[in-house]
Subunit: 156 residues, 3 copies
Protein backbone atom coordinates (compact mmCIF):
# COMPACT_ATOMS: atom_id res chain seq x y z
CA UNK A 1 0.00 0.00 0.00
CA UNK A 2 1.31 3.34 -1.01
CA UNK A 3 0.74 5.70 1.92
CA UNK A 4 1.92 8.76 0.01
CA UNK A 5 -0.54 8.16 -2.83
CA UNK A 6 -3.39 7.69 -0.37
CA UNK A 7 -2.63 10.97 1.33
CA UNK A 8 -2.39 12.65 -2.06
CA UNK A 9 -5.84 11.33 -2.96
CA UNK A 10 -7.23 12.52 0.38
CA UNK A 11 -5.73 15.93 -0.30
CA UNK A 12 -7.19 16.11 -3.79
CA UNK A 13 -10.69 15.52 -2.44
CA UNK A 14 -10.27 17.91 0.46
CA UNK A 15 -9.07 20.67 -1.83
CA UNK A 16 -11.82 19.95 -4.37
CA UNK A 17 -14.53 20.20 -1.77
CA UNK A 18 -13.05 23.26 -0.08
CA UNK A 19 -12.98 25.02 -3.47
CA UNK A 20 -16.68 24.40 -4.02
CA UNK A 21 -17.84 25.01 -0.46
CA UNK A 22 -15.97 28.30 -0.30
CA UNK A 23 -17.56 29.36 -3.58
CA UNK A 24 -14.29 29.67 -5.52
CA UNK A 25 -16.01 28.36 -8.63
CA UNK A 26 -13.45 29.77 -11.07
CA UNK A 27 -10.91 27.31 -9.62
CA UNK A 28 -13.19 24.31 -10.01
CA UNK A 29 -12.26 23.35 -13.61
CA UNK A 30 -8.58 23.23 -12.60
CA UNK A 31 -9.24 20.02 -10.68
CA UNK A 32 -9.86 18.31 -14.03
CA UNK A 33 -7.66 17.28 -16.93
CA UNK A 34 -8.09 19.06 -20.29
CA UNK A 35 -10.07 16.13 -21.64
CA UNK A 36 -12.48 15.15 -18.94
CA UNK A 37 -15.98 14.02 -18.14
CA UNK A 38 -18.15 15.39 -15.34
CA UNK A 39 -21.58 13.90 -14.94
CA UNK A 40 -24.35 14.11 -12.36
CA UNK A 41 -26.54 11.02 -12.69
CA UNK A 42 -29.55 9.72 -10.74
CA UNK A 43 -28.77 6.39 -9.14
CA UNK A 44 -31.72 4.72 -10.76
CA UNK A 45 -30.36 5.50 -14.21
CA UNK A 46 -26.82 4.56 -13.24
CA UNK A 47 -27.86 1.20 -11.79
CA UNK A 48 -29.81 0.33 -14.94
CA UNK A 49 -27.04 1.47 -17.26
CA UNK A 50 -29.20 4.23 -18.69
CA UNK A 51 -27.21 7.11 -20.13
CA UNK A 52 -29.41 10.06 -19.14
CA UNK A 53 -27.62 12.55 -16.90
CA UNK A 54 -28.89 15.56 -15.01
CA UNK A 55 -25.70 17.36 -15.98
CA UNK A 56 -23.03 16.19 -18.43
CA UNK A 57 -19.87 18.07 -19.38
CA UNK A 58 -17.21 16.59 -21.60
CA UNK A 59 -14.20 18.91 -21.55
CA UNK A 60 -12.58 21.46 -19.31
CA UNK A 61 -13.97 24.11 -21.66
CA UNK A 62 -17.51 22.97 -20.85
CA UNK A 63 -16.73 23.18 -17.13
CA UNK A 64 -15.55 26.76 -17.62
CA UNK A 65 -18.74 27.53 -19.50
CA UNK A 66 -20.71 26.16 -16.60
CA UNK A 67 -18.81 28.35 -14.15
CA UNK A 68 -19.59 31.34 -16.36
CA UNK A 69 -23.26 30.37 -16.27
CA UNK A 70 -23.31 29.84 -12.54
CA UNK A 71 -21.58 33.07 -11.69
CA UNK A 72 -22.83 35.38 -14.46
CA UNK A 73 -26.03 34.31 -16.17
CA UNK A 74 -28.07 31.74 -14.26
CA UNK A 75 -30.83 33.34 -12.24
CA UNK A 76 -30.94 31.66 -8.83
CA UNK A 77 -31.13 32.34 -5.13
CA UNK A 78 -27.63 31.95 -3.76
CA UNK A 79 -26.95 29.22 -1.23
CA UNK A 80 -24.07 27.79 0.72
CA UNK A 81 -22.94 24.25 0.13
CA UNK A 82 -21.19 22.02 2.64
CA UNK A 83 -19.78 18.64 1.66
CA UNK A 84 -19.37 15.88 4.23
CA UNK A 85 -17.52 12.78 3.10
CA UNK A 86 -15.14 10.17 4.40
CA UNK A 87 -12.00 8.60 3.01
CA UNK A 88 -12.03 7.87 -0.71
CA UNK A 89 -11.78 4.17 -1.42
CA UNK A 90 -8.90 3.23 -3.75
CA UNK A 91 -10.47 0.74 -6.15
CA UNK A 92 -7.67 0.34 -8.66
CA UNK A 93 -4.29 1.79 -9.56
CA UNK A 94 -2.94 0.58 -12.87
CA UNK A 95 -0.80 2.16 -15.58
CA UNK A 96 -1.04 5.53 -13.87
CA UNK A 97 -4.83 5.47 -13.79
CA UNK A 98 -6.47 5.57 -10.36
CA UNK A 99 -10.09 4.63 -9.77
CA UNK A 100 -11.74 5.78 -6.54
CA UNK A 101 -15.16 6.11 -4.99
CA UNK A 102 -16.55 7.76 -1.89
CA UNK A 103 -19.97 8.54 -0.44
CA UNK A 104 -20.81 12.21 -0.08
CA UNK A 105 -23.49 14.37 1.49
CA UNK A 106 -24.09 17.95 0.39
CA UNK A 107 -25.92 20.24 2.78
CA UNK A 108 -27.48 23.43 1.53
CA UNK A 109 -28.08 26.61 3.49
CA UNK A 110 -30.06 29.47 2.05
CA UNK A 111 -30.10 32.83 3.71
CA UNK A 112 -32.58 32.97 6.56
CA UNK A 113 -33.30 29.26 6.30
CA UNK A 114 -32.11 26.32 8.30
CA UNK A 115 -29.63 23.92 6.72
CA UNK A 116 -31.18 21.20 4.55
CA UNK A 117 -30.16 17.87 3.09
CA UNK A 118 -29.52 18.78 -0.52
CA UNK A 119 -27.92 15.84 -2.27
CA UNK A 120 -26.33 12.58 -1.27
CA UNK A 121 -24.72 9.85 -3.26
CA UNK A 122 -21.45 8.47 -4.42
CA UNK A 123 -18.56 9.93 -6.38
CA UNK A 124 -17.12 7.39 -8.83
CA UNK A 125 -13.93 8.90 -10.18
CA UNK A 126 -10.95 8.34 -12.42
CA UNK A 127 -7.80 10.21 -11.48
CA UNK A 128 -4.57 10.66 -13.39
CA UNK A 129 -1.40 12.67 -12.89
CA UNK A 130 -0.99 15.76 -15.08
CA UNK A 131 2.11 17.90 -14.61
CA UNK A 132 2.85 16.12 -11.33
CA UNK A 133 -0.61 16.89 -9.92
CA UNK A 134 -3.50 14.51 -9.45
CA UNK A 135 -6.53 15.57 -11.47
CA UNK A 136 -9.94 14.12 -12.22
CA UNK A 137 -10.22 12.68 -15.70
CA UNK A 138 -13.74 11.55 -14.95
CA UNK A 139 -16.08 12.37 -12.11
CA UNK A 140 -19.49 10.81 -11.77
CA UNK A 141 -21.82 12.06 -9.04
CA UNK A 142 -24.41 9.32 -8.68
CA UNK A 143 -27.12 10.73 -6.43
CA UNK A 144 -29.86 8.87 -4.56
CA UNK A 145 -32.97 11.03 -4.70
CA UNK A 146 -34.61 12.04 -7.90
CA UNK A 147 -36.41 14.78 -6.05
CA UNK A 148 -34.01 17.67 -6.30
CA UNK A 149 -35.02 20.68 -4.22
CA UNK A 150 -35.13 23.42 -6.87
CA UNK A 151 -32.13 22.93 -9.10
CA UNK A 152 -28.54 21.86 -8.85
CA UNK A 153 -26.80 25.11 -9.63
CA UNK A 154 -23.30 24.80 -8.20
CA UNK A 155 -20.95 21.87 -8.82
CA UNK A 156 -21.32 18.90 -6.52
CA UNK B 1 1.73 3.66 14.71
CA UNK B 2 1.13 1.08 12.07
CA UNK B 3 0.15 2.88 8.89
CA UNK B 4 -0.60 -0.32 7.02
CA UNK B 5 -3.03 -1.53 9.66
CA UNK B 6 -4.80 1.80 9.71
CA UNK B 7 -5.28 1.74 5.97
CA UNK B 8 -6.53 -1.82 6.21
CA UNK B 9 -9.09 -0.76 8.81
CA UNK B 10 -10.18 2.15 6.63
CA UNK B 11 -10.56 -0.27 3.73
CA UNK B 12 -12.62 -2.70 5.77
CA UNK B 13 -15.12 0.01 6.66
CA UNK B 14 -15.26 1.42 3.14
CA UNK B 15 -15.93 -2.01 1.69
CA UNK B 16 -18.50 -2.82 4.38
CA UNK B 17 -20.45 0.34 3.74
CA UNK B 18 -20.21 0.06 -0.05
CA UNK B 19 -21.62 -3.46 0.20
CA UNK B 20 -24.67 -2.27 2.12
CA UNK B 21 -25.24 0.95 0.20
CA UNK B 22 -25.08 -0.86 -3.11
CA UNK B 23 -27.61 -3.38 -1.84
CA UNK B 24 -25.29 -6.40 -2.16
CA UNK B 25 -26.81 -7.89 0.99
CA UNK B 26 -25.73 -11.46 0.27
CA UNK B 27 -22.11 -10.32 0.75
CA UNK B 28 -22.82 -8.65 4.08
CA UNK B 29 -22.28 -11.70 6.36
CA UNK B 30 -18.83 -12.23 4.81
CA UNK B 31 -17.56 -9.16 6.67
CA UNK B 32 -17.98 -11.11 9.92
CA UNK B 33 -16.19 -14.05 11.50
CA UNK B 34 -18.04 -17.37 11.85
CA UNK B 35 -18.69 -16.66 15.51
CA UNK B 36 -19.79 -13.09 15.72
CA UNK B 37 -22.14 -10.63 17.33
CA UNK B 38 -24.11 -7.93 15.49
CA UNK B 39 -26.32 -5.72 17.57
CA UNK B 40 -28.31 -2.53 16.98
CA UNK B 41 -28.85 -0.81 20.32
CA UNK B 42 -30.47 2.49 21.35
CA UNK B 43 -27.96 4.75 23.02
CA UNK B 44 -30.10 5.14 26.09
CA UNK B 45 -29.95 1.41 26.74
CA UNK B 46 -26.26 1.20 25.92
CA UNK B 47 -25.34 4.07 28.25
CA UNK B 48 -27.25 2.48 31.13
CA UNK B 49 -25.82 -0.96 30.51
CA UNK B 50 -29.25 -2.36 29.64
CA UNK B 51 -29.11 -5.41 27.40
CA UNK B 52 -32.18 -4.81 25.21
CA UNK B 53 -31.32 -4.51 21.53
CA UNK B 54 -33.42 -3.55 18.54
CA UNK B 55 -31.67 -6.28 16.56
CA UNK B 56 -29.31 -8.94 17.90
CA UNK B 57 -27.62 -11.67 15.87
CA UNK B 58 -25.07 -14.03 17.34
CA UNK B 59 -23.51 -16.01 14.52
CA UNK B 60 -22.83 -15.68 10.82
CA UNK B 61 -25.71 -18.09 10.29
CA UNK B 62 -28.11 -15.64 11.90
CA UNK B 63 -26.78 -12.88 9.65
CA UNK B 64 -27.46 -15.06 6.61
CA UNK B 65 -30.97 -15.71 7.91
CA UNK B 66 -31.47 -11.99 8.19
CA UNK B 67 -30.35 -11.46 4.62
CA UNK B 68 -32.81 -14.12 3.52
CA UNK B 69 -35.54 -12.28 5.42
CA UNK B 70 -34.59 -8.90 4.00
CA UNK B 71 -34.38 -10.06 0.42
CA UNK B 72 -37.08 -12.76 0.32
CA UNK B 73 -39.71 -12.59 3.04
CA UNK B 74 -39.92 -9.22 4.80
CA UNK B 75 -42.63 -7.04 3.34
CA UNK B 76 -41.30 -3.49 3.07
CA UNK B 77 -41.05 -0.54 0.73
CA UNK B 78 -37.55 -0.61 -0.73
CA UNK B 79 -35.21 2.28 0.01
CA UNK B 80 -31.67 3.33 -0.70
CA UNK B 81 -29.19 3.72 2.12
CA UNK B 82 -26.15 5.97 2.12
CA UNK B 83 -23.59 5.85 4.92
CA UNK B 84 -21.47 8.87 5.76
CA UNK B 85 -18.67 8.36 8.25
CA UNK B 86 -15.16 9.50 8.97
CA UNK B 87 -12.00 7.67 9.97
CA UNK B 88 -12.44 4.81 12.42
CA UNK B 89 -10.68 5.48 15.69
CA UNK B 90 -8.22 2.75 16.71
CA UNK B 91 -8.93 2.26 20.41
CA UNK B 92 -6.82 -0.81 21.12
CA UNK B 93 -4.73 -3.42 19.34
CA UNK B 94 -3.66 -6.29 21.53
CA UNK B 95 -3.06 -10.00 20.93
CA UNK B 96 -4.47 -9.70 17.43
CA UNK B 97 -7.72 -8.13 18.62
CA UNK B 98 -8.50 -4.63 17.35
CA UNK B 99 -11.11 -2.40 18.93
CA UNK B 100 -12.41 0.55 16.92
CA UNK B 101 -15.22 3.07 16.94
CA UNK B 102 -16.54 5.63 14.49
CA UNK B 103 -19.58 7.88 14.20
CA UNK B 104 -21.91 7.14 11.31
CA UNK B 105 -24.90 8.72 9.61
CA UNK B 106 -27.27 6.71 7.45
CA UNK B 107 -29.43 8.59 4.98
CA UNK B 108 -32.49 6.95 3.50
CA UNK B 109 -34.05 7.67 0.14
CA UNK B 110 -37.37 6.17 -0.85
CA UNK B 111 -38.60 6.32 -4.39
CA UNK B 112 -40.27 9.64 -5.16
CA UNK B 113 -39.24 11.08 -1.81
CA UNK B 114 -36.48 13.39 -0.78
CA UNK B 115 -33.54 11.99 1.17
CA UNK B 116 -34.08 11.78 4.95
CA UNK B 117 -31.96 11.38 8.05
CA UNK B 118 -32.54 7.74 8.92
CA UNK B 119 -30.18 6.72 11.67
CA UNK B 120 -27.10 8.15 13.32
CA UNK B 121 -24.86 6.87 16.04
CA UNK B 122 -21.62 5.11 16.70
CA UNK B 123 -20.17 1.80 15.59
CA UNK B 124 -18.26 0.10 18.41
CA UNK B 125 -16.45 -2.83 16.86
CA UNK B 126 -14.07 -5.67 17.54
CA UNK B 127 -12.01 -6.78 14.56
CA UNK B 128 -9.78 -9.82 14.14
CA UNK B 129 -7.86 -11.37 11.28
CA UNK B 130 -9.34 -14.51 9.73
CA UNK B 131 -7.54 -16.13 6.79
CA UNK B 132 -5.42 -12.98 6.40
CA UNK B 133 -8.48 -10.72 6.14
CA UNK B 134 -9.81 -8.32 8.72
CA UNK B 135 -13.33 -9.25 9.82
CA UNK B 136 -15.79 -8.02 12.42
CA UNK B 137 -16.06 -10.32 15.41
CA UNK B 138 -18.45 -7.90 17.05
CA UNK B 139 -20.29 -4.88 15.69
CA UNK B 140 -22.47 -2.71 17.86
CA UNK B 141 -24.50 0.05 16.19
CA UNK B 142 -25.42 2.37 19.06
CA UNK B 143 -27.97 4.79 17.62
CA UNK B 144 -29.12 8.11 19.05
CA UNK B 145 -32.83 8.42 18.33
CA UNK B 146 -35.36 5.96 19.62
CA UNK B 147 -37.81 7.22 17.04
CA UNK B 148 -37.09 5.03 14.06
CA UNK B 149 -38.93 6.07 10.91
CA UNK B 150 -40.81 2.85 10.05
CA UNK B 151 -38.42 -0.01 10.61
CA UNK B 152 -34.76 -0.80 10.24
CA UNK B 153 -34.91 -3.36 7.47
CA UNK B 154 -31.43 -3.38 5.93
CA UNK B 155 -28.19 -3.75 7.88
CA UNK B 156 -26.69 -0.55 9.26
CA UNK C 1 4.52 14.04 3.88
CA UNK C 2 4.64 13.01 7.49
CA UNK C 3 2.32 10.03 7.90
CA UNK C 4 2.74 9.92 11.66
CA UNK C 5 1.73 13.55 12.07
CA UNK C 6 -1.32 13.03 9.90
CA UNK C 7 -2.45 10.09 11.97
CA UNK C 8 -1.86 12.11 15.12
CA UNK C 9 -4.05 14.89 13.77
CA UNK C 10 -6.76 12.39 12.83
CA UNK C 11 -6.58 10.99 16.34
CA UNK C 12 -6.84 14.42 17.94
CA UNK C 13 -10.06 15.14 16.08
CA UNK C 14 -11.52 11.71 16.73
CA UNK C 15 -10.82 12.00 20.45
CA UNK C 16 -12.16 15.58 20.55
CA UNK C 17 -15.42 14.62 18.92
CA UNK C 18 -15.83 11.45 20.95
CA UNK C 19 -15.41 13.50 24.13
CA UNK C 20 -18.22 15.87 23.15
CA UNK C 21 -20.56 13.29 21.66
CA UNK C 22 -20.26 11.09 24.73
CA UNK C 23 -21.04 14.09 26.93
CA UNK C 24 -17.72 14.03 28.82
CA UNK C 25 -17.73 17.81 28.93
CA UNK C 26 -15.30 18.11 31.84
CA UNK C 27 -12.59 16.69 29.56
CA UNK C 28 -13.28 19.15 26.76
CA UNK C 29 -10.99 21.99 27.92
CA UNK C 30 -8.06 19.54 28.05
CA UNK C 31 -7.99 19.49 24.26
CA UNK C 32 -6.82 23.11 24.36
CA UNK C 33 -3.60 24.84 25.38
CA UNK C 34 -3.64 27.09 28.46
CA UNK C 35 -3.79 30.17 26.28
CA UNK C 36 -6.34 29.44 23.62
CA UNK C 37 -9.18 30.80 21.57
CA UNK C 38 -12.48 29.01 20.89
CA UNK C 39 -14.99 30.82 18.75
CA UNK C 40 -18.27 29.92 17.08
CA UNK C 41 -18.87 32.31 14.20
CA UNK C 42 -21.58 32.58 11.53
CA UNK C 43 -20.11 32.18 8.09
CA UNK C 44 -21.51 35.45 6.89
CA UNK C 45 -19.55 37.33 9.55
CA UNK C 46 -16.43 35.28 8.98
CA UNK C 47 -16.46 35.83 5.21
CA UNK C 48 -16.82 39.59 5.66
CA UNK C 49 -14.14 39.79 8.31
CA UNK C 50 -16.66 40.91 10.94
CA UNK C 51 -15.60 40.09 14.48
CA UNK C 52 -18.95 39.22 16.03
CA UNK C 53 -19.09 35.66 17.36
CA UNK C 54 -21.95 33.60 18.73
CA UNK C 55 -19.59 32.26 21.36
CA UNK C 56 -16.05 33.45 22.13
CA UNK C 57 -13.76 32.09 24.83
CA UNK C 58 -10.18 33.22 25.21
CA UNK C 59 -8.49 30.95 27.74
CA UNK C 60 -8.77 27.46 29.11
CA UNK C 61 -10.29 29.02 32.23
CA UNK C 62 -13.17 30.38 30.17
CA UNK C 63 -13.71 26.95 28.65
CA UNK C 64 -13.92 25.48 32.14
CA UNK C 65 -16.41 28.18 33.10
CA UNK C 66 -18.49 27.22 30.10
CA UNK C 67 -18.45 23.58 31.12
CA UNK C 68 -19.62 24.61 34.57
CA UNK C 69 -22.44 26.58 32.99
CA UNK C 70 -23.44 23.77 30.65
CA UNK C 71 -23.46 21.08 33.31
CA UNK C 72 -24.58 23.05 36.38
CA UNK C 73 -26.39 26.30 35.70
CA UNK C 74 -27.76 26.63 32.17
CA UNK C 75 -31.39 25.66 31.95
CA UNK C 76 -31.91 23.59 28.83
CA UNK C 77 -33.50 20.41 27.52
CA UNK C 78 -30.72 17.84 27.21
CA UNK C 79 -29.85 16.50 23.79
CA UNK C 80 -27.41 14.13 22.19
CA UNK C 81 -24.88 15.40 19.72
CA UNK C 82 -23.26 13.39 16.93
CA UNK C 83 -20.41 14.81 14.84
CA UNK C 84 -19.80 13.55 11.33
CA UNK C 85 -16.63 14.78 9.65
CA UNK C 86 -13.95 13.61 7.26
CA UNK C 87 -10.19 13.89 7.26
CA UNK C 88 -8.78 17.17 8.49
CA UNK C 89 -6.90 19.02 5.78
CA UNK C 90 -3.32 19.92 6.72
CA UNK C 91 -2.97 23.51 5.50
CA UNK C 92 0.40 24.42 6.97
CA UNK C 93 3.04 23.06 9.31
CA UNK C 94 5.74 25.57 10.20
CA UNK C 95 7.80 26.21 13.33
CA UNK C 96 5.74 23.70 15.27
CA UNK C 97 2.45 25.37 14.41
CA UNK C 98 -0.06 23.31 12.45
CA UNK C 99 -3.04 24.82 10.66
CA UNK C 100 -5.91 22.54 9.68
CA UNK C 101 -9.49 22.71 8.51
CA UNK C 102 -12.29 20.23 8.07
CA UNK C 103 -16.02 20.33 7.33
CA UNK C 104 -18.28 19.07 10.09
CA UNK C 105 -21.93 18.22 10.60
CA UNK C 106 -23.50 18.06 14.03
CA UNK C 107 -26.73 16.11 14.41
CA UNK C 108 -28.93 16.65 17.42
CA UNK C 109 -31.30 14.16 19.01
CA UNK C 110 -33.68 15.17 21.75
CA UNK C 111 -35.53 12.60 23.75
CA UNK C 112 -38.63 11.37 21.94
CA UNK C 113 -37.71 13.28 18.82
CA UNK C 114 -36.17 12.21 15.55
CA UNK C 115 -32.59 13.23 14.82
CA UNK C 116 -32.20 16.72 13.29
CA UNK C 117 -29.57 18.66 11.40
CA UNK C 118 -28.25 20.96 14.11
CA UNK C 119 -25.18 22.74 12.83
CA UNK C 120 -22.85 22.42 9.88
CA UNK C 121 -19.77 24.30 8.87
CA UNK C 122 -16.02 24.25 8.96
CA UNK C 123 -13.47 23.98 11.74
CA UNK C 124 -10.48 26.24 11.12
CA UNK C 125 -7.89 25.31 13.70
CA UNK C 126 -4.39 26.00 14.93
CA UNK C 127 -2.68 23.10 16.67
CA UNK C 128 0.56 23.02 18.66
CA UNK C 129 2.36 20.42 20.73
CA UNK C 130 2.19 20.85 24.51
CA UNK C 131 3.89 18.25 26.71
CA UNK C 132 4.23 15.94 23.70
CA UNK C 133 0.48 16.08 22.96
CA UNK C 134 -1.26 17.90 20.14
CA UNK C 135 -3.66 20.54 21.45
CA UNK C 136 -5.82 23.23 19.93
CA UNK C 137 -4.43 26.72 20.37
CA UNK C 138 -7.27 28.12 18.35
CA UNK C 139 -10.51 26.58 17.15
CA UNK C 140 -12.97 28.44 14.98
CA UNK C 141 -16.32 26.82 14.21
CA UNK C 142 -17.60 28.73 11.19
CA UNK C 143 -21.21 27.62 10.73
CA UNK C 144 -23.44 28.04 7.70
CA UNK C 145 -26.93 28.78 8.95
CA UNK C 146 -27.76 31.75 11.09
CA UNK C 147 -30.96 30.05 12.10
CA UNK C 148 -29.93 28.08 15.14
CA UNK C 149 -32.61 25.73 16.43
CA UNK C 150 -32.97 26.90 20.04
CA UNK C 151 -29.48 27.55 21.34
CA UNK C 152 -26.02 26.11 21.05
CA UNK C 153 -25.53 24.75 24.55
CA UNK C 154 -22.81 22.12 24.25
CA UNK C 155 -19.46 22.63 22.58
CA UNK C 156 -19.33 22.04 18.84
Amino acid sequence: MDATLRFEIDDLYSAYVACIDEGRFADWPEFFTEECVYRVVPRENFDRGLPLSTLAFESKGMLKDRVYGVTQTLFHAPYYQRHIFGRPQLLEHRDGVIRTQVNYLVLRTRQNDPTELFNTGRYIDTIVRENAQLKFREKLCVFDSELIPNSIIYPL
